[in-house]
Symmetry: C2
DNA sequence: ACCATAACACTAACCGTTAGTTTTAAAAAA
DNA sequence: TTTTTTAAAACTAACGGTTAGTGTTATGGT
């Protein structure tokens, strides 16, 4: 299935990457709002319609690999060791993601995102989508007999932790602090059984 | 200050209301996406630029009185009885807001919002703005010696409760369930003092 | 009566996005 | 190979939200 990708798919992937790379370079160079889609298309030597056949919107050019993010969140839940409690596993993953954004070589990108309202809005609804996937993953865990509402709530709280921590002075400490609260919320959601 | 508003301000308010009313009527009649700003302007008998001098965007026409929402959240914190605990007061207000959306005569509006992606996105970032105001109000309460991070977290959780409850089968029960979790989170955020 | 200004109108455009159509090139069938 | 099919990408043109620039009118203060 992943053996010989075929020339067509290779060219398509190359076009996609060329567009994304060109766009990011121009955005960082001249500022997101100062660069139009037509500029990106011209610089990447493709048609405007080609840009939109690879990316759903201008903002999507910046968040090229957002599916990674979602995957990692879900995997932190579904792929954790047996009997490992949910919340610490989630906390570790959020910590890793926050570090990834704060310290990465991609720091200028995140500064641009923070400074551009359109990008902030886009990221917000992206995170809500991710929260939905995370909620489903939590709800599907057979070892967690919680309400759907409780699962969706915890998922929201987790992505809240991410975005709040990114704005905090000490992001990693903020994640810890918020997750102490999430842990308590998760306990309180238990169907009033043990301890 | 509110005595004789003057003819000018009255006319301005009238124009604003006429635009908003016309827009909402057209939206509910023909569907949000099927009505253009130029349609609204023509039907309200104003220029397109006048619409945008009263409302920042097409979506803002639908959420005309969103400042009410923010005010009520903040007031639930700042205007509560002395020594009344924070969380129950917040819970009551969120309950009221959820009821207001679910049972109000404005139910068709909320159905339209739920069905229109652009409006949902707009509401999302609106709620985040409200969460910021709420966080400030909580942080400014002298009786609550919590971290800024904890205050912002609780504010987020509260608006999460609102949007999650609105999507739940039994909204009022959902608010109660989520606020049990929020209460626990708030307790856990205490600087490790009493009890 | 006069002037400053706020509200609004009008034109024209910018920019993200999409539809419709056509060319090009890769994959599959003959 | 040759032919046929299919998918990528080009091109043209437009739509719809939004804004800039420029007047025009009516209101409020002097």
């Amino acid at each position: 299935m992943t053996a010989p990708p075929g020339r067509r798919e290779r060219k398509k992937a190359a076009t996609r990457r060329k567009i994304a790379d060109t766009a990011l370079r121009l955005f960082l160079d001249r500022g997101y709002d100062a660069v139009g889609i037509r500029d990106v298309a011209a610089e990447a030597d493709v048609a405007v319609t080609t840009v939109f056949s690879h990316f759903a919107s201008k903002e999507a050019l910046v968040f090229e690999q957002d599916e990674d993010f979602e995957q990692r969140l879900v995997q932190a839940v579904t792929g954790r060791a047996p009997h490992e409690p949910l919340i610490p596993a989630l906390c570790r993953e959020i910590q890793a993601l926050v570090r990834h954004c704060a310290a990465d070589s991609a720091a200028p990108v995140w500064r641009m995102v923070d400074e551009t309202p359109a990008l902030r809005k886009y990221e917000e609804s992206m995170m809500l989508r991710h929260a939905e996937s995370l909620a489903t993953a939590i709800a599907d865990d057979p070892g967690l007999p919680q309400t759907t509402t409780a699962c969706r709530t915890i998922a929201r709280f987790a992505v809240d932790a991410y975005s709040l921590a990114r704005e905090a002075a000490d992001p990693e400490a903020a994640v810890d602090e918020i997750f102490r609260m999430i842990e308590a919320a998760w306990e309180a959601a238990r169907p009033a059984r043990d301890t």
